[in-house]
Symmetry: C2
Subunit: 341 residues, 2 copies
DNA sequence: TTGTATGCGTTATCAC
DNA sequence: GTGATAACGCATACAA
């Protein structure tokens, strides 16, 4: 009783065959009520549990999906994963997580591992730069297993994606800052070889253009998403002959660093200087000076990604098609950018 | 070439048998160098990838472990999971995540699901109250698959655990507050039917006792871990005839809510009132008034849990034994509780 | 309605 | 050193 009861054990106990047991367990119509009941009872008595591994091997369907993210312990990624899990749990899928640490070798390795594990789908937020070598991704598509990018996507045929409209978010944010009276808006950019950062940059650029504000290359600073880089960037900006009076940071952490450093310089926010972040990290709301930011609705993004996956799975003719879902960003205008009430 | 190449395909291509291919692939000593090389080459050419599912079924080892947490998107749990993943990845294990949403039915369901998926180990942070019915946990132990509790554990035979010394953390924190001149220390408690919260309460109690400070039942408030509950609790405390002059909150979020509300009442922190949190949520450090808190080193906790699991797996004689690891908490004394420099 | 036989992809145990 | 065969646990096509 301790180990594992199989359908054979049940069959033996009932002097019937394993096939019949299997049918009874699976509510197969071709079976008499009496034997079904009998099987169900003894199965329960013998504490039978289906071995998903055997089922998976037999059916070619593991009921597992893989999620690949740079790291799991940031609010954004953790929340997306939560959304995916919640969307897929009712359908009986389990979620396997993989981290890349922004290392593209790890990304390739993770994809292969998931493929070998026979997952039924892969969700991923790109880490590596969009090089020419997409061989490992092609393999996924060829195997005809659904691939869904979220947030950091790569434009590809036959690959679905769920993202927010980064261009729009960026455009609206820049527009907002201009309306607050800021004409000299610095921009903290992520790596623009990733689509989301390129899109955000274009939104910023376009908004300035539409307002007849020239682009100042000195105001464009490439940063990594952490506090220190935000602080350093502020130093550079304040050393300029003509320093800016606002920062739009594509990272909340860098925005925080910027605010810290600006304050240390005695600059008043938002009176003298506006700051806008991106990502709606929990701390942005909690600060005494709350930080304006863009909400990416990660939970909804995850749930939507789950839906996209399920649709692909259920419409087998649809499997080859792609579905690009673009969610609306939400500007959370808080104290750090509110001059005009 | 698109679908799946099996060892049979390789065997056929080489006019040898699948067994030989398998041996070659697994570096079995009983094989000639020449055939091995040949097999390896064609395997590579045909883009062969081992089907882990078949291997798992055959070997009874899935190379998957399950992690069960109340929710994945809090810094603490996400970081522990990260630690587990990083500790297990080098050994070839994949991590399957499950959420309970603090619902004990979900907890039972998740354990069963993981068992059916034939995971090689289960890591879990208890959600449900330690009722008498531990049947679902017993099943895990009986099946002889390693079970490791982290943080929210349950005292049981044959179950390992990794926790911090909650009693000590709480004792030291209370002692610290007393040393800062606070004799009237309110306490925000979690559900004391969970061991960690009981331990923390005992630490608080003992420190007061050791300092000849009587316990004031009005100061003990049971809260959930969120901002609102912290705010509400402060209201209750300030309405007392003899209100406290410090709060030790076992939740950072409640500590934040408390601070917000205290400030709104014009109470100065830390001059008039000290506040101490628990958990080292990222925002505690970022606040303009940084919040003192207890660091639980979640990353280390996860890595340690991974180690405990690996030791159990590798010493099969050790499998039945238990290993209770207790990590040292770190008090992070920040502005919200620093009167004396 | 039930039983028989087979295959999912591997590896281990025999033989040769 | 290599081949044939069985087994892991399950579900189904085919027979009966």
């Amino acid at each position: 009783m301790s180990g594992k009861t199989t359908i054979y054990d049940i069959a033996k106990a009932l002097n019937i065959t394993a096939a019949t047991v299997s049918r009874a367990l699976n509510n197969n119509p071709k079976i008499s009520q009496s034997t079904r009941k009998l099987v169900l009872e003894t199965a329960n008595k013998m504490n039978y549990k289906q071995n998903k591994l055997a089922l998976a091997l037999r059916s070619g369907k593991s009921n597992n999906v893989g999620v690949i993210v740079p790291r799991i312990n940031t609010n954004f990624f953790a929340s997306v994963i939560r959304g995916i899990e919640e969307g897929l749990h009712p359908e009986g899928y389990q979620v396997i997580i993989c981290q890349t640490h922004e290392d593209e070798n790890r990304e390739v390795e993770n994809v292969n591992t998931l493929l070998n594990a026979q997952v039924d789908g892969i969700f991923m937020s790109i880490s590596n730069l969009p090089k020419e070598d997409n061989h490992y991704i092609e393999r996924v598509i060829q195997k005809n297993i659904p691939l869904i990018f979220f947030d950091r996507k790569k434009e590809m045929k036959n690959v679905s994606s769920v993202t927010i409209d980064d261009y729009l978010a960026s455009y609206q944010t820049t527009q907002h800052l201009i309306e607050q009276g800021c004409k000299k808006i610095a921009y903290f950019s992520g790596d623009r070889s990733l689509e989301i950062y390129e899109d955000r940059y274009r939104g910023y650029e376009k908004a300035l253009l539409d307002n007849n504000i020239p682009i100042n290359p000195d105001y464009i600073i490439s940063i990594k998403s952490n506090v220190t880089e935000g602080r350093d960037a502020v130093e550079k900006l304040l050393a300029l002959e003509n320093p800016p009076n606002a920062i739009f940071s594509t990272s909340d952490f860098a925005a925080l660093g910027a605010i810290q450093r600006l304050k240390e310089h005695g600059i008043k926010i938002p009176e003298d200087f506006c700051v806008f972040g991106f990502g709606n990290e929990p701390f942005t709301k909690f600060m005494e000076l709350s930080i304006s930011t863009v909400d990416q609705s990660p939970l909804e993004m995850g749930k939507m990604a789950a839906q996209v996956f399920l649709e692909k799975i259920n419409n087998s003719d649809n499997k080859k098609s792609e579905n690009k879902v673009v969610l609306m960003p939400k500007l959370l205008i808080r104290q750090s950018s509110t001059r005009i009430a």
